[in-house]
């Protein structure tokens, strides 16, 4: 299988994630979509590492994984905070910064 297949699949995965971010009302749903985005990127990194005969791509995947974990942790903390304050976690209702 060529590099372009992986890149394409990763691209599709990314677009699905993008769609999710844009459309989900629930904050956890958005976090789920973010995971998809990160995964798409990871696939790309791994693919380029494989086809580019390097190891750095794999190392980056590790790093992004760690980053994602951090993101999920903080994100969930925020979601819980939001929930405590407002009793719901619908993003389109949490518009306190409306101008």
């Amino acid at each position: 299988m060529g590099l372009e297949s992986y890149v394409l699949i990763a691209g599709f995965l990314f677009c699905v994630g993008l769609y999710g971010i844009l459309t989900r009302r629930n904050a956890i749903g958005v976090l789920v979509s973010v995971e998809l985005l990160v995964n798409a990127a990871n696939i790309n990194l791994a693919a380029f590492a494989h086809f580019g005969r390097g190891l750095d791509g794999q190392v980056f995947v590790l790093f992004t994984t760690a980053l994602t974990v951090a993101e999920v942790v903080v994100g969930l903390a925020l979601v819980i905070l939001l929930f405590r304050r407002r009793k719901d976690i619908l993003l389109d209702l949490a518009n306190g910064l409306k101008g």
Partner: protein
């Protein structure tokens, strides 16, 4: 001690006194002690003035000059003292009258609360300083300083009873009118400065006509020449001694003194002299007419002052400086006397109105006598002081061929005698009014100055010769037809006055005939015009302020407001919804990505 030292003493002792009693508030609030200090200061000033005059008539001839750079180093903008016969004599006149008035005020203002009394004498001392500054001025610049300062003190003293709305009004009116006229002084000064680089009395410049016209405009304000005389009658709201000192004897005469001083300049300007002659003569006539119909004794005297100042200005316009200056001196004495005498009457009946007086001569023989002396001097009855100087003026007018002004002055002389007789008759003789029942003579502090001034009113005419010698003119009294005619006219006026307002109460037809004229004069056209002008000014101010507020500022606000509205619109973009922001990011990524890929 040198002459300059004496002059400086005369100048700065009153200033020191004013500062001392003005700034040491507890002292000022005690009233009488402050007043006595002020009188002492005036006496020192008077003595110094006497020493200047006595000590050096020979030294005075060439003039003594002592200056110090004021705005810059050097003499161009210097201040100091300039002593010659003219200023030395004027210094004496001013300090003498001022001393008399201050002593008189001790009695006259006896009932004032102590703080007010302290304030009054602070102003009095300040006035003496200001007037001496003007008199001793070595150049026009210092003259202007003194000129403005006396205007200031005049404002403060007219507004002495500041709780009275009419006094407050009169004070600001006096200040505004004279200050407006002073624009002329200022313009004259800066023109002179631009032309000659200095402010010398003796400057020679091609712009002399313009400069002198401007100076004369200022004189019209300060010396109450038509049509800028309107402040003077109102200024009678001040205490009577103030009227005597400032608004009769000295301050209003400052204008005349200025012209005398600036004689070299005025000599270069024939046009200005003509204007002066006509304006002066007209004022003399006009004010005399108005004086005839006044019912307030101080107003009579105020218009009389206007009229007499007109005489002086006319004389100076004729080019006879000495005549004007002589009349200035004699007038200072007898008009101060008249005012102080009137003050004594007012003090007795607590009213300015002639109708509240009447028959006071019997109750107050001393005051009555001195008042009559003053009136006779003013009417030009020989050999009292007014006779000589007025005679000289009429003769000067005739000599210089100014026949129209001469005629006006002659009529004015008749009217002067007439209205003074009327005043004397109404106030001192005739049927006593209710208020006059309890009138009594004032104390010695008021009598003494009256006596001094009365003597001078009688005798000052004979000082003409020495005075001429002092100031470098020639003068000896000799009988002339014009002068004689003037005196005769005056006597007729007295007779007429006695006929109409004396025991006979004759001339009812004349009174009836002139009633409309009197009504018109009392209407006070110039005053009303000034009020209208003031109203117009306020209206213009309101319009401009409105434009500034709502149009000019409005444009600013409007442009700011447009941005505000724009901002309100743009604000809607910040929905506060996270996904909208993500959407914007995604959109940007797509757009830039498309641009990058499809390019």
């Amino acid at each position: 001690m040198t002459l300059v030292t004496w002059a400086l003493l005369a100048l700065f002792v009153p200033l020191g006194v004013a500062a001392f009693i003005g700034l040491v508030v507890p002292l000022r609030r005690t009233g009488r002690p402050a007043a006595l200090i002020s009188v002492a200061g005036a006496l020192v000033s008077l003595a110094s003035a006497g020493m200047v005059l006595a000590g050096g008539s020979a030294a005075l001839k060439p003039g003594v000059h002592a200056t110090v750079g004021w705005l810059t180093a050097g003499t161009a903008t210097a201040v100091g003292v300039h002593l010659d016969g003219t200023s030395a004599w004027m210094l004496l006149v001013v300090t003498l009258v001022a001393t008399c008035v201050q002593i008189y005020s001790l009695g006259y203002l006896h009932d004032e609360p102590p703080p007010a009394l302290g304030r009054y004498f602070t102003y009095q001392s300040l006035f003496l300083f200001a007037m001496n500054t003007l008199v001793l001025a070595p150049n026009l610049l210092q003259a202007f300083l003194g000129w403005e300062l006396v205007g200031l003190v005049s404002y403060l003293l007219i507004g002495f009873y500041f709780r009275k709305p009419s006094a407050a009004k009169a004070a600001v009116k006096a200040f505004w009118v004279t200050k407006f006229a002073d624009l002329g002084f200022l313009i004259g000064l800066v023109t002179l400065y631009a032309q000659t680089g200095g402010f010398e009395w003796t400057a020679v410049t091609p712009a002399a006509t313009f400069v002198t016209l401007m100076l004369f405009f200022a004189v019209m304000g300060k010396s109450a020449q038509f049509p800028l005389h309107i402040w003077l009658p109102d200024a009678m709201e001040g205490p009577t001694p103030v009227s005597a000192l400032l608004h009769a004897a000295t301050m209003v005469a400052a204008g005349v003194f200025l012209i005398v001083r600036a004689e070299p300049l005025f000599e270069q300007a024939a046009l200005t002299r003509d204007v002066m002659a006509y304006v002066g003569a007209f004022t003399a006539l006009f004010a005399a007419c108005v004086a005839v119909v006044q019912s307030d004794i101080k107003k009579v005297l105020a218009y009389s002052t206007c009229s007499q100042l007109g005489y002086m200005v006319a004389a100076l316009g004729a080019g006879d400086t000495f005549a004007g200056y002589f009349h200035l001196s004699t007038h200072a004495f007898f008009k101060a006397l008249l005012f102080l005498g009137a003050g004594s009457l007012i003090h007795a009946v607590h009213s300015n109105e002639l109708k509240d007086m009447g028959g006071l001569f019997r109750k107050m023989p001393f005051s009555g006598t001195v008042f009559v002396v003053g009136a006779l001097a003013l009417a030009g009855v020989p050999p009292l002081a007014g006779f000589f100087s007025k005679d000289l003026i009429l003769e000067a007018m005739h000599h210089h061929g100014l026949h129209v002004p001469l005629a006006a002055l002659a009529i004015a002389a008749f009217l002067t005698a007439f209205y003074m007789t009327r005043t004397v008759m109404l106030a001192l003789f005739g049927t006593p009014s209710h208020a006059a029942e309890h009138a009594h003579e004032p104390g010695i502090d008021m009598k003494l100055p009256l006596a001094v001034l009365a003597l001078l009113a009688v005798g000052a005419g004979f000082l003409g010769g020495p005075l001429a010698g002092l100031t470098g003119h020639d003068y000896a009294f000799h009988f002339t037809p014009v002068g004689g005619a003037g005196t005769a006219i005056g006597l007729v006026g007295i007779g007429m006055g006695y006929f109409m307002f004396g025991p006979a109460q004759g001339g009812a037809a004349i009174k009836r005939g002139f009633a409309p004229v009197g009504a018109f004069i009392r209407y006070g056209l110039m005053d009303r015009l000034a009020t209208v002008a003031y109203g117009i000014m306020l209206a213009v101010g309101a319009i401009i302020a409105w434009i500034d507020r709502y149009v000019i500022d409005g444009l600013m606000n409007w442009s700011g407001w447009i941005l505000l509205v724009l901002g309100r619109r743009l604000r809607a973009l910040q929905t506060g919804n996270v996904q909208d922001y993500v959407y914007a990011v995604a959109l940007a990524v797509v757009v830039f990505g498309a641009w990058g890929i499809l390019r």
